[in-house]
Symmetry: C2
Subunit: 184 residues, 2 copies
């Protein structure tokens, strides 16, 4: 059974940290990096239907947690391979989003297919191309997916600077909205 954690401020530190009451281990929490891509195919974008929680059944970009030992570019390509069985060519950073409430920084690339073909990986129920008009907004998994799609649609990002959080959630602290609020 894993240790019992409580929040204690270590000597010399400026904030409380999760500390195991039994063995003294300090489980430092730091924000994690998510890497993903808006993959443009034939004028539309590739979306994956999530097979796993959270938001199983909802549509998302090919994205996931960056692993140790890889660059953000390598991670974005790996996630597209794993979730959409797609080889992608990155075209620059579309946005850097901070989901501060969750301790997450998302680095979202623009991309094209480097080779034809895509198919669901183990974490996807389905993968398909959506034109802007076809995007199923009430079934989009997370606000940041919408932010990415809106930025792509507006022609933002490469060759210009990446976007950051939109004004509606500048501090990255808002909770998940309702289905009705997911529309752009």
């Amino acid at each position: 059974m894993a240790g019992t954690f409580e929040r204690i401020r270590p000597d010399g530190d400026d904030r409380e940290r999760l500390t195991c009451r039994d063995c003294g281990f300090v489980a430092y929490e730091n924000p994690k990096v998510v890497v993903g891509s808006v993959v443009e195919v034939e004028g539309g974008v590739l979306l994956c239907r999530r097979a796993i929680e959270p938001r199983a059944g909802y549509w998302t970009l090919p994205a996931g947690y960056l692993e140790m030992g890889e660059t953000v570019e390598e991670g974005a390509r790996r996630e597209a391979r794993e979730e959409a069985q797609a080889e992608i060519a990155l075209r620059g950073i579309l946005g850097v989003y901070s989901i501060a409430r969750l301790g997450q920084v998302q680095v979202i690339f623009r991309a094209n297919l480097a080779a034809p073909g895509f198919a669901p990986g183990p974490e996807s129920l389905d993968v398909r191309i959506f034109t802007w008009e076809e995007i199923p907004w009430p079934e989009i998994a997370f606000p940041s997916v919408r932010w990415s799609l809106e930025a792509w649609r507006a022609g933002l990002g490469p060759p210009g600077p990446p976007v950051g959080n939109p004004p509606e959630d500048a501090r990255g602290m808002r909770p998940l909205p309702s289905a009705a609020e997911m529309a752009p």
Copy 2:
């Protein structure tokens, strides 16, 4: 005394994870985010002389680990306040560097001073403005500081796209170079 960790591959996972032999706790390791800025002042840049390891005595940008609950922008401003007692205005992302060997993603902004004045904080021995010609290359703390200064000098980044790792270390895996190798 903290738990005894060993690398074991959990069921359903695709790689080994640090697991406590005594209590079963899994200490997942994920890359951490560093946020920092090239702060332009009177045609030069603000550099801080590190008071703490690693590379104490060497010069670096005002930068540090992103904390839970803050955006990358908020973190960059906080670090400038803490390390250089400077209030800065961010002008866009200059670069996103992956130091894969260390599991670090650095988001480096371009910035100006939002209010006059700067001074060393607790983690800095000194803070001063350097023109390009004055930059003490053999005493620069990390390669990514040099990459940031070179990108700034070349006019890269905002209003254009941010730079990534330079070709000399595209995979972010090279070890710390010698002092001689730190020159641009």
